[in-house]
Symmetry: none
DNA sequence: ACCTAATCGAGACGGTACGTCACGTCTTCGT
DNA sequence: ACGAAGACGTGACGTACCGTCTCGATTAGGT
């Protein structure tokens, strides 16, 4: 007998996971449309075949739903390849990262999440988590490079990571320059030179 | 007469410029508040002592008003100092740039402009112009460094510029790391090493 | 084994009379509050400490619950006194009837039952039964008067009854005039004169 | 010049009388349907070709709209005929009053207004006003009868009025007896006898 | 002493109406 | 003829109840 367990952990009907999934799927689908004002509670509810109240029962805010919908797809692959040398690994990482943004739906969602994060704390947290995973992956890659002597011992790896992702977000959001393979190569070159 | 006073004394006809100023001032003031949903057409109109229609007569969209209101303050100084050496110039530039974001109102406005730019083309254009000026300033600084031999001849200056501002925007928008003087110094170090 | 009953008499848990009582009590209590929108299925259920489904299992409609809750209290005394003369009996009857409405809870319930009866057939039936009992009592009183010669032989007793209760309901529902003792006396006078 | 008049009586677009009429007409039309839950703000708005907000701009509550919609039809004829003798005038008045309720739509609306008046103060006021006009008409008729000696000098005319209308409302709301011509005649007889 | 089945409190479900807010358009009147 | 005031139609928002549908727990026969 566990004294800390409540006597009655739950009564009543259980939360419908089908509804939860449907809501998050519908939200994600709507987020992929370029029109950012398509994401309406009504639209989500009717696309999910769900009552509006069911959404409000579980999420305090539209932003929170959006955040959850994005978070469950954030597990998506962080491109991580071990091709052999540090330089090619870094290049591959950046090329893959940039390439992902060629999908207009993904670029649109990423722009929307950054935008929404400025107004909604739930989305902000998702953005923080989302980016942290990617930063950690890149940092591990750089760490391996440093351990192998490809980067100098006094290189500020965290700053290098932010320089890399900074270029990605800066160009994504301002749109003044391309995020193509050649940009990825050039960025890789500068980063590798930097930490040396 | 105080141009910054919130209440514009009632004027008759032919004072359209006064109304225009009042609208842009009010919009800018509202943009400086941390609450991003404070910027309402109604709020602007009543803060400016202006009819709503007067706003719509001159601007097609709320975003356009916001864009204009931001643009007129975008002339703000780009920190440019010639302290002698490339390294100290670059450090000073970045320190000054980061320092500007310590003002919460400025940081808030910058976040809002990036956010709004994702949904409104007028704001997007303002953001592009705003950042272009700063990129040009930094690029000129780097160019002087390259000319002086502080940066290698094959350094991709545009990429270095984006790496610098990328860090600034990335941290501003995601908020995972500080934008303080020590960060500026570290960034300057990595950038200088990179282009060498 | 009972050959005549084709099916099992009953299996499983029996209906909880405690729940039934609690529901009707709670409903009656809520009906006594002046706020007519206080009578909610949720409010009844939680006031009775009962699940909502338990209500719906036994009553088809909120109106039916209300009807039942009212019906069990409808047995309340019909003021019937034999003071001796017809005139004083009639006066006493009307004074008592009017006096009952001085209780705000009773007046509120009576108003609500009339109101609800217009939309719900269950309540309508209860109202019909409730009033029929009272009409019968008053009619018997008048009949005694007619038999004793206090009312003429051609007096329409049913109409006189409706004239008496009509005043009560009309003033209760419209609220343009008081239902006090003096009104009761005046009404008794006019009624007695009428049937003569 | 009137010192009490405001300096600026009105600016801006004027209230649309067409919208007002359309709203009240649509509400009245919906009220005439037997289903009392047909009267929805949405239904009113769309039947009137009007935005929902336009309704809320001018009426605080659905009940207030309903009240107004009913009030504008309350001017409907109060049956007043001078046929010569008091007895026939009274009979005609009551016969006409009862006859009006043969129209199911009118009876339904009257039931709904009494019902709604118990929950909404706006409707209550309309009901009070509506009935006051009719009471006044009947009272004037009785007054003429009293002046002519058809009713005794000590008859309580207000009570007689309430006895008459009381029968009408009581039977309308409880439904236990008919409101036909024969009832009107019998009521007239009893009333005339009463006041004598 | 089980087994079966109906009821219990609890509470989530898909809906519908509510009343509020902001939008962008359209009158009206005063200057 | 411009500008403030403000009403207009529209549509999303978040809340309150509705009546239905699960849950695990409880309770009363029948075996």
């Amino acid at each position: 007998m566990d004294a800390t367990s409540p006597r009655r952990p739950h009564t009543g009907r259980r939360r419908s996971d089908a509804a939860r999934e449907a809501i998050l799927d519908a939200t994600f689908r709507l987020l992929s449309s370029p029109a950012s004002d398509a994401v309406t509670i009504d639209a989500i509810a009717s696309a999910a075949g769900v009552g509006r109240q069911t959404i409000y029962r579980w999420w305090p805010t539209k932003g929170a739903v959006v955040a959850d919908a994005l978070a469950r797809h954030a597990r998506a692959v962080v491109p991580e390849r071990h091709t052999g040398t540090f330089t090619t690994d870094l290049q591959a990482f950046l090329i893959d990262s940039f390439a992902g943004l060629q999908d207009p739906a993904f670029a649109s969602r990423l722009r929307q999440i950054v935008s929404a994060a400025q107004q909604d704390e739930h989305v902000a947290r998702v953005l923080t988590d989302f980016t942290a995973v990617r930063r950690a992956a890149l940092r591990a890659l750089l760490q391996r490079g440093q351990d192998a002597g490809d980067l100098g011992p006094d290189a500020d790896l965290d700053m290098l990571v932010d320089m890399a992702y900074g270029v990605l977000y800066y160009r994504l959001l301002v749109g003044h320059a391309a995020l193509d393979e050649s940009a990825a190569r050039s960025l890789a070159t500068e980063l590798a030179r930097s930490g040396r």
